[in-house]
Amino acid sequence: MSLHEAAREYATRHRVRAWEALPWLAGLAAFFLFPNYLAFGTQVLVTILFALSLDLVLGYAGIVTLGHAAFFGAGAYTAAMLAAHAGWNEPLSGLAAAALVAGAVGFASGWVVLRAQGLALLMLTLCTMALLEQAANMGAAWTGGFDGMPGLAFRPIAGLFEFDVLYFRSQYLYALAVLFAGFVAVRLLVYSPFGRSLTGIRENVLRMHALGAPVRARQVRVYAFSAALAGVAGAVFVQANGYVNLAVLGLERAAGVLIILILGGYGRLYGAFVGALVYMLLEHSLSKAYPTAWQLGLGLTLMLVALYARNGILGLAAALRSRWSGR
């Protein structure tokens, strides 16, 4: 089989479509078009990665969680404490360490809480995150507590690209690269047999049990994987900003990423991209225009999307597309 045919076959099996290159081209274009907004851009990229990790558990495995920031924070604090206390400030290995720690936390907590469902599960995830936040506050000698750990310095990425304090240039490209890698991983997972069994679990748990599928084990595994990915997002956040505090473990971050994913459309992989972009752009521009009243505009937008779109913006787009393509 020639290279061309092999690539074609690969693309068909994984359903890669031509337009999927667009988000990445757009991300690169933004780097050149908006050179003064790259700090904001980095925040968006980190949030997309975080939302992507949530989509794995929410959109594909059907686990509703209000505590995903526990893993974001676990990864963030791992990277921060390694740099501040152990002098280990090489960024790429910091990412790996964060993924390991966050994944372990995810595995442990998933093993404990995933026996529950519905409201109980939701509250269990919330409480887990809150416990971690309290622990981080109590260990303020290590974590800096409410005031956080300032002045975190990291070595250049791959020894070449220094972290740019004022313009965030290398941070932005770094976040983009990590997001790309994370996205590829998630995509491969979702289209793999494991990923398909997750969809089965989400659609009909009873039938999956009847089929003899190890439901709980699969859920815990995807939960751990998602936690690791969220931890990577947290580590990038810390490395890009050079600062961490308790907010990385807070309900505001966890609820925020959930809203973003619902807004964009969960279970659709790109919902994370659309949701994060729309929500954060809206918040950003509204708060500049109306520093005291922007929450009104944001709230109204959320209400309207919830009322008129089933499954967020992408869901709305899909519904419109099917209507126009004729039924």
Binding site: M123, C127, A130, L131, Q295, L296, G299, A306, N311
Partner: protein, 286 residues
């Protein structure tokens, strides 16, 4: 510190949690609707009390009654026009909608009144201490305990002894069955939503002394209300009551004995209960 003081203190804070959370529990239990804007109704009630007392010179209890009526009416309006459209939507869309509504309420209050926190001037006989014979204790806390107990009694009577209450209980347990028996579930929804919002409003006004009152109220205490509802068991008034009291008292005791522990104990306790009994203290096994 003696047992009586601890118990009374814990009961008082538990009662505030109960009054605000009971509406959320019944709404979520009956309508299966995740209403994360519930704290917003409590906030609006508190503001109604504060503003009515300040600008119209209304006495405290009259203002509470006004808050109940006004917010219940608002609840009916919102339920009929907006909430009803989302009954068939997924829970996540309900989350999206109600968080948006909470943001609108926060921004609306900030624009209308300002970002400052409000205080409610309690009537003179509620400030200071009361002599119980064996103990002098904060009058306001004692009043909260009395109010909570009365409310519990009223709700219990309402649910156990009235026809509407029986219909509500039936619909919570099995909506389809209740509908097929001729219960007008739609009307029940509106009634329950109005009641829940009104109670939240009263809780907001009564509890302002303890929980404060400012535009951030709806989202700040949301986690706490949800925990009380989950631990109590959806749609079970007795469950919410028990959960609120247990959480209130234990939180209080642990803070006296181990102040450095922070809020860890509450979250750990909630987790233990939910892992052992996911349906909540009074909930039925699914």
């Amino acid at each position: 510190m003696d047992l009586a003081s601890i118990l009374l203190g814990g009961l008082a804070s538990g009662m505030v949690l109960f009054v605000v959370s009971v509406g959320l529990s019944v709404t979520m239990g009956l309508m299966g609707f995740v209403n994360l804007a519930h704290g917003g109704f409590a906030m609006l009630g508190g503001y109604a009390v504060a503003l009515a007392m300040r600008h119209w010179g209304m006495p405290f209890f009259a203002a509470l009654a006004l808050a109940f009526a006004a917010v219940a009416a608002l609840g009916v309006l919102l339920e009929r026009t907006l909430y009803a459209r989302l009954y068939r939507a997924s829970e996540l869309d309900q989350v999206l909608f109600t968080i948006g509504l909470a943001l609108v309420m926060i921004a609306g209050v900030t624009l209308a009144v300002g970002p400052e926190s409000q205080s409610i001037a309690l009537p003179a006989w509620l400030r200071g201490q009361t002599d119980l014979g064996f103990l002098r204790y904060r009058s306001y806390s004692l009043a909260l305990i009395a109010a909570g107990a009365l409310l519990m009694l009223a709700l219990w009577l309402g649910f156990e002894r009235t026809r509407a209450g029986a219909q509500i209980r039936a619909a919570v347990d099995n909506r389809r069955m209740a509908e097929s028996l001729g219960v007008d579930v739609r009307r029940l929804f509106t009634l329950v939503f109005a009641l829940g919002s009104g109670l939240a409003a009263v809780g907001g006004g009564l509890g302002a002394e303890i929980l404060g009152l400012d535009p951030q109220y709806p989202l700040r205490y949301l986690a706490y209300f949800l925990i009380v509802v989950a631990v109590g068991g959806l749609g079970r008034v007795s469950g919410v009551f028990a959960a609120a009291l247990v959480i209130g008292v234990l939180d209080f005791v642990l803070k006296v004995e181990f102040p450095k522990g922070g809020a860890i104990f509450i979250y750990a306790l909630a987790m233990i209960i939910l892992l052992a009994r996911p349906q909540g203290l009074a909930g039925k096994r699914a």
